[in-house]
């Protein structure tokens, strides 16, 4: 329990991930599903950023002539988070565009209704 409290960033990331995951599975509204996906993304960024931090060290912007690795925090998670943000922006935009097309066709963003309408059309 104490471990979870000290690692509170990671714990919060896991809880956020769970919230986003359940949102993705349980919501019927497609736009809300995309929002759940976004919450999951942020949880992953929080986790990565907290893994890169080291107490008492500087951000990886070098000061002075000689750089000592013991003075700076880990720069790699920052790069990974950047990649993640870009990909999640692209995926969100693409899925929202698909949802807009679905809305134009079926006049609803409810997943179950869309499935039912599609089935009805398939029977005819």
């Amino acid at each position: 329990m104490e471990h979870l409290l000290i690692n509170h960033y990671e714990t919060a990331a896991v809880i956020l991930f769970g919230i986003g995951f359940l949102n993705l599975l349980l919501q019927n509204n497609l736009v809300k599903k995309v929002i759940g996906f976004g919450i999951m993304d942020s949880a992953v960024y929080l986790f990565l950023a907290s893994q890169g931090y080291i107490v008492g060290r500087l951000a990886p912007i070098l000061v002075g002539e000689v750089a000592n690795a013991a003075d700076y925090i880990n720069p790699i998670p920052a790069g990974l988070v950047l990649t993640g943000i870009v990909v999640s922006v692209s995926v969100t935009a693409f899925s929202l565009a698909l949802i807009q097309r679905l809305y134009q066709k079926y006049k609803t963003v409810n997943f179950d209704e869309i499935v039912q309408l599609a089935r009805q059309k398939g029977d005819e």
Binding site: H3, L4, N7, H8, E10, T11, V14, I15, F17, G18, F21, L22, L25, L26, Q51, G52, Y53, I54, V55, R57, A59, P60, I61, L62, A67, A69, Y72, N74, P75, I76, P77, A78, G79, L82, T83, I85, V86, V87, V89, S90, V91, A93, F94, A97, L98, Q100, R101, Q104, K105, D112, V115, Q116, L117, A118, R119, Q120, K121, G122, D123, E124
Partner: protein, 315 residues
């Protein structure tokens, strides 16, 4: 006769079918009807009645499936969270220097980074020099996303109804003579500041926090503010779909060409003749500045492109 028709349909090239699918014309595809769904509460003839009965049965089935699905989803979610929590218990303590993630790679990046890449900002040096190929992939992903959204949402004669045409015509008329005074005054103040700040963040990417992605987003927000406050017509005077295509592809090509050069020379142990400059100056750190500018341009155009496509369906 029907066989002939079938053969004809099969003879359509894959490209034609793909075009038809993108345009929403799916006459031969029962799953995606081309016409809008009929109003749901009409029961006139016998056929329809049977259909409603069957669909009601289907609905009950769906409901039953739905409740099982919900329970399963909650169970899966709880299981995932529990497993992850147990994993968090095994993780090294927050902020400890002997975290196994801090290994020889980090040491190498921090200690040799300045003399090898010339960038003071180690993150910029990492993503635009050591891992530049990855960043090129990111920019391509953004470009690909805009292309897909354009394919799906761009308004043309195939996916616009008459009502929507009337609506856009009316919007154009309103844009023509009405100007929101508060919005335009504030926008005149803010847009230059935002643009200059975005350019500053891009150009200082290798010296201070920032870089192509963050600066590009700031510039993109300035473009969006311009489009919001002065309308699409004025926007199209200097930014159209053609300029968007040209600028974005040129930026990506410059990125690819300059990085290909440095990869080629590096792999063959040749002298690359790219001066690294004095660390801390604007004109330093070799290719990183050029790559940052390219990424910034791509990101700014992409952000504005998403806005324009989602609001008006045109660029």
């Amino acid at each position: 006769m029907s066989k002939m028709a079938k053969i004809k349909k099969e003879k359509q090239t894959a490209w034609q079918r793909f075009c038809a699918w993108v345009n929403g014309d799916t006459a031969d595809r029962p799953l995606m009807p081309a016409d809008p769904p009929a109003p749901r509460k009409t029961k006139t003839d016998k056929n329809k009645k049977q259909k409603t009965v069957s669909s009601r049965k289907e609905g009950i089935e769906l409901n039953r499936f739905g409740s099982i699905y919900r329970i399963c989803a909650v169970l899966i979610g709880v299981a995932v969270v529990t497993v992850l929590m147990v994993t968090v218990l095994q993780l090294p303590l927050f902020g400890s220097p002997d975290n196994p993630a801090v290994n020889e790679v980090v040491e190498r990046y921090v200690e040799k980074g300045l003399e090898e890449t010339g960038a003071v900002n180690m993150v910029a040096g990492m993503i635009l020099d050591y891992r530049a190929f990855d960043t090129f992939g990111e920019s391509s992903v953004l470009f690909l996303a805009v292309t897909c959204v354009t394919m799906l949402l761009m308004r043309d004669k195939n996916n616009t109804s008459k009502d929507e045409d009337l609506l856009t015509a009316r919007e154009h008329v309103i844009e023509g003579y009405e100007e929101d005074i508060i919005l335009t005054k504030i926008a005149r103040l803010l847009i230059p500041c935002a643009l200059v700040y975005g350019i500053y963040v891009v150009l200082n990417g290798h010296i201070s926090p920032g870089g192509g992605f963050s600066g590009g987003t700031i510039m993109g927000s300035a473009l969006i503010l311009f489009a919001v406050s002065f309308g699409m017509i004025r926007m199209s005077r200097f930014f159209t779909y053609a300029t968007f295509k040209k600028v974005t592809s040129c930026a990506l090509l410059v990125y690819a060409a300059s990085k290909a050069y440095s990869f080629f020379t590096g792999a063959n142990h040749l002298e690359s003749h790219i001066p690294l400059g004095t660390p801390g100056a604007i004109l330093s750190s070799g290719l990183i500045l050029i790559l940052d500018i390219c990424v910034g341009i791509v990101v700014a155009c992409t952000m504005y492109g998403f806005y324009a496509l989602f609001t008006k369906g045109e660029l």
